[in-house]
Every structure is written in C-alpha cells, then in structure tokens.
C-alpha cells in the first residue's frame, strides 16, 4: 500500500527471529568497534550485513571449515563463549560453518563429505586449531583414514585464507616445547614447506580470545579484506602492543608497588606482578583492553601474572611460549642443556664468583712472588728477541742480549 512504509525483506527476517531493529543496530555497533571502525560506522556495517552476509541479496553465507590438528579444543571452547555476537549467531547467521569436529551437529562420514564438497566449491576460509604434527610421517594424528597433514594440505590449498587459531597453530605452541617427539610446528611454516601460498593469519593465545577470531571474521566477511598484518602475519591491531602497555596494574609498576609473594598484603592491594615473573612486558596482545569471559576479567586482573601465551614466532617452533617462558614465576626462562635445566642467574653468578675467587688466589700468588706492590723487575731483553737476536724488536745493550741469548728460552 502506498501510504505504508515498506518493510524490507531483511527487516522481515529480523522480525521473524524476534530481533528488533534497535538490537540489530546495537550488534552492528559492536561489530564496528570490533573491527576498529568505531561505533559511528554501525550503519555501514548494518548495510554490509543486510546486503551480503545475512544473505538477503546473495543468499549464500561465507563457508568456513574449522579443522582441529593437535589441539586440546580449548580454542573452540573459548570461541563458544563469544557473546556479542554470540557464537550461535556467528556460526548460524554470519558464516556457514560447514565442518567443525566440535561444533557441527553431524559427525562421521557425512561431515567428511561436507568438507570435501566445500573444498571443491572453493571460496571459503579455513580455521585451523592446534599444532601441525609432522613427526612419524604425520601419523601422530590421523582422522578419517588420513593424516592430519593431508587434511590440512587439502583444505589449505583451495582456501581464500587460513586462520591459524591459537599458539599451537601459529608455531606448535606447547606441543613444540621440549622434547617435541611428534615434531609439532605451526601452520605457516608447514604450508611454506609444502609450497602452499595461501595467506595465513596468525592468532596466537592459549586460548586466543574469541573476540579476536570474531574481529578477523568480520574483517574478512564484512569488509572483504584481510586485516593489516605485521611481519609475523598477526593482526597489528590486536598484537601490536604489549600486555604491559595496556595493563590496568601499570600504575603500580610505575609507582614501584610490587607483589613479591602470593597471599601477601601487596597482592590484596592489586599491585604489579612483575617480580612474580609477569611476561606482560614482552608479550604482545591486547588482553588488557579486550579482556576475557564476556569482557569481565582477564589473567592479570584475576591476580595471575601473564605467562606470555601469545608469544609465538610462526617461523620458529622453538620460540614457543612454553619453552620461552617457563618457569612462569621466575623472571628468566630456564636454559636447557639436554635434559638439564638451569637459570641464567646461576650460570652468571657462578662464573663471576669463580673469576672473583681466582683473582683473590692470584693476588696471594702475586704477593708470594714478591710482585706486590712494586711488580717484578723488567726483563732486560724480550724473550722472543733473545731467541731471535737477528730479528729483535728492541735495541738492547750488547751484553744484555748476549747474556739473554745464552740462557735457553731467554729471560725465564
């Protein structure tokens, strides 16, 4: 009817789900903030959602395959806690999660088939959780009759991008820590070795904050672009600054107010956890800004020193967060010589102590040799010159040179 405002098809979809325009715009605002656009960009996001994602005009949701390698499923569990938008909204309405060992309702052969079809159709994103195990010919991990490596290669080859979710997927994580019998490494390194050029987005963390993955998905789905990545292919916006830079206890650090012991009055006051081995100053992630568990709290707020779970160099499985940061409550990591571990301070103080002791002993020797405080008498002729008088450096009185040359080995 002409005198009635037309309700769009999209609005009808929202109504059918009991979602008001207001709460939809609120969601768009949250999404806009997540991708770093600011709340003012909410209408832009709303339009993008209406036009492409929800499927009002195109119909198809963006396909996503979520494969678990050597994982504890912690990353999936963390993602399942997402609340704005909630995980169900993401999985059901923003993307088409065609394969996930944990989240998919189906299981077994039909799931594998769905995955194969998705790969064949192309134009999808692969989320890979857990380490890549290339030990024992990849047989450390087998699913559906094939090695985990084969699954990754197949899915990564045709993907638009691979999201390596969690520190294990980035560089092997704690799987790659000593002794690493299964040969754990990260997705980026593995794909490089296999000659697969699909772009990799690394999202470290143990587990990664679900909002990080959501922000990446929104970037890719809504804005149709990969987020800005640093040299390690980690999103700059998330992993550009240290935990320390944005820590809520930073003020106490600046004041020189520290917790030296758990259960102490200083701990009760919420002082800085630096002496308890906090890895915030060397770990890059925006944990203190995004926070965890529905933005309720995060490690340091809860009173735990940062253990640096986001430290992950994709090109170096040895630089995994466990190897680099344990023992967590010490300021330094342990150094490893085979199965023997030692703190750097022990080595340094030990060597310095030995040098100091040697000097003391030497000092007594110098005293006994009569060189304190006046030193020994100078040699009349350099020892080498005495042996090689024809090539002598010094000009010596003839008698000195002759006397020295006669003595075997010069003036010993």
């Amino acid at each position: 009817m002409d005198n009635e405002a037309t309700v769009s098809e999209f609005q009808g979809m929202l109504d059918a789900r009991g979602v008001s325009r207001r709460s939809f715009m609120k969601l768009c605002g949250t999404l806009a903030v997540m991708v770093g656009l600011g709340e003012a960009a909410a209408p832009r996001v709303a339009q993008a959602l209406e036009e492409s994602v929800i499927g009002a005009s195109q119909g198809d949701l963006y396909p996503v395959i979520w494969i678990e390698g050597a994982s504890c499923t912690g990353c999936t569990e963390a993602f399942a806690q997402l609340d704005a938008p909630d995980a169900a909204a993401v999985v059901l309405e923003m993307i088409s999660l065609n394969y996930s060992e944990t989240l998919s309702a189906a299981a077994g052969w039909s799931m594998e088939e769905a995955k194969e079809q998705t790969i064949k159709a192309g134009n999808y994103i692969l989320v890979y959780e857990g380490a890549v195990l290339h030990g024992w010919g990849g047989n450390a991990l087998r699913i559906a009759g094939k090695t985990g490596n084969e699954h990754l290669i197949e899915a990564a080859e045709h993907a638009n991008a691979v999201v390596a979710l969690g520190s294990c997927a980035v560089n092997g994580g704690w799987m790659a820590a000593h002794p690493n019998p299964a040969g754990a490494e990260g997705v980026q390194m593995f794909l490089k070795e296999q000659g697969i050029a699909t772009p990799v987005i690394n999202i470290p963390g143990c587990p990664p904050n679900p909002e990080w993955l959501c922000a990446i998905l929104i970037d890719v789905l809504l804005l149709d672009k990969l987020p800005e990545l640093n040299a390690e292919n980690k999103p700059v916006q998330i992993f550009g600054q240290t935990v320390h830079d944005n820590c809520q206890r930073r003020g106490h650090f600046e004041n020189g107010e520290f917790v030296y012991q758990f259960g102490s009055p200083e701990e009760a006051k919420g002082y800085c956890l630096y002496p308890l081995g906090c890895r915030g100053p060397q770990t890059k992630a925006n944990c203190g800004v995004v926070r965890y568990n529905h933005r309720r709290s995060w490690c340091v707020e809860a009173g735990a020193p940062c253990i640096g779970c986001c430290e992950a160099n994709p090109e170096n499985p040895g630089q995994n967060w466990v190897e680099v940061n344990t023992p967590f409550y010490k300021r330094h990591r342990d150094l490893r010589i085979g199965d023997f571990v030692v703190q750097p301070g022990t080595i340094a103080l030990g060597v310095t102590g030995i040098v100091a002791a040697a000097l003391v002993v030497h000092g007594f020797g110098m005293k006994a040799a009569g060189r304190v405080p006046k030193g020994a008498d100078f040699e009349k002729v350099r020892a080498w010159d005495a042996k090689h008088p024809d090539k002598a450096i010094g000009v010596y009185p003839k008698e000195d040179l002759e006397a020295a040359s006669k003595k075997k080995g010069g003036n010993q």
Partner: protein
C-alpha cells in the same frame, strides 16, 4: 724500582674524563640493571629505569666520543715516556708488543719471573680493551631491543626474533652485564695489584716517578724520580 714512570702523557685529560664517565655510567648501569631485572628496592624502580636508559645512551655516546678522540688527541705510546703519537696508534699492534702475548700470559701464570717489556697497553690488555667498544655497541643494541620505543620498530622486531624472542634478548643482555662485571674486576685487579700509581694517574692525573722507556729503542732507557 720496577715501575715505569707514570706520566700524564699516557692518559691525557680528555681520556681521563671519558674514563670517569665510563666508570660512573658502568656502576649506575649495573646497579639499576639489577633493580630492573628484579625490583629488590621497589621504590627505586622508576628512577632505576630512567637512569638506566639515560646512562645507556651516555656510555654509548662516550664510547663514540672516545673513538673520535683517539684520532684527534695524542698520547704516549708507552709508559715512562713523554713522547706523543696519535692515540689510535696505541690501540693498534705496536712493535713494543710484538711476540709478547706468550710472555704476558706466562708472567701472570707465574711461569715467567720478570716483567715483560711492553707498549702502554700489554697484549692481552689491548685485546680486551679493543673488545670493549664492540661489546658496548652490542650491549647498547640489545638494550634498544628491550626499550619499547625502539623495540617496536620493524627492523628491531626482526632482530629480536633472530635472537629467539625478547626473553632471549633479555638473557643475552643479562649475561653481557656479567661480562662487563668480570672485565671490570679483572681490569681493576690488574691495574692495581702492582701498586695504585696507574689508578692515581688515570683518575687524578697524578704523576709518579720510575723507569723511563725509549719508544725508538723499545727498551728501558733510564730512571726519572720526578724529584725536580
């Protein structure tokens, strides 16, 4: 008298100043470095960090200044002489030191009784002093890798990863401090074990009589009791 005379020409005033700066900066860097590694004295932390960064630059710039001065200031090539040569020459191999590395090692291991003849700097001394600017530059570099304003530069980030991450850089920086501590202990010990005259000269410019040395003949030439 077994000492060479200690003349100011061995350590002209500009070098005594850079040596003072080195000493003060090194002490402050070590003390504040320990505090930053672990805040033994919590209230001092803020001051320690500022001091550490400031004197890190001071000691590095001082090192550069000292290198420039080596080419512009003249100093004596050996103890016991007032003759002057461009200072950098006293850092390079000198005829006075030729074939004397073994002699020095034997002397300090008590395998040789008499004192080796030498240029102003003995062979092991010269080698270790030459290593200091390199160690200092490397120390300064690892310091920059740990200081956020520089650590976040892409080039420095790549260097951090090459060294195995920020933790490795911290440990290298920490070990290097002990290299400097051990050097300083050895340096102070060897400079003073045969009398405090070298320190008096280096710190206060106090001269001290002794044997004279002829840089032309590379040998002891007489004695100057400074009783003029």
């Amino acid at each position: 008298m077994a000492h060479l005379a200690h003349y100011r020409e061995a350590h002209p005033a500009p070098f005594r100043v850079t040596h003072w700066v080195n000493l003060i900066a090194m002490i402050l860097l070590i003390v504040t470095g320990f505090c930053i590694h672990f805040p033994f004295w919590p209230e001092f932390m803020g001051i320690a960090r500022g001091t550490h960064i400031f004197f890190g630059f001071v000691i590095f710039i001082n090192c550069l200044v000292r290198i420039v001065l080596a080419f512009t200031v003249k100093s004596a090539p050996a103890g016991g002489t007032r003759e002057l040569v461009p200072d950098y020459k006293t850092w390079l191999p000198q005829a006075d030191n030729k074939h004397q590395l073994g002699a020095w090692i034997k002397y300090y291991l008590f395998l040789k009784k008499d004192h080796p003849l030498s240029a102003k700097l003995g062979v092991p001394q010269k080698l270790s002093y030459l290593a200091i600017p390199l160690l200092l530059a490397f120390m300064f570099f690892t310091g920059l890798l740990l200081w956020p304003p520089t650590a976040n530069l892409p080039m420095f980030e790549a260097a951090i990863n090459m060294m195995g991450g920020a933790m490795s850089v911290r440990i290298i920086h920490y070990f290097m401090m002990f290299v400097f501590i051990c050097f300083t202990m050895l340096h102070a010990y060897l400079a003073n074990i045969e009398g405090l005259a070298p320190s008096k000269l280096m710190f206060f410019g106090t001269e001290h009589g002794g044997l004279t040395y002829d840089p032309e003949k590379h040998n002891i030439s007489g004695e100057d009791k400074l009783d003029h």
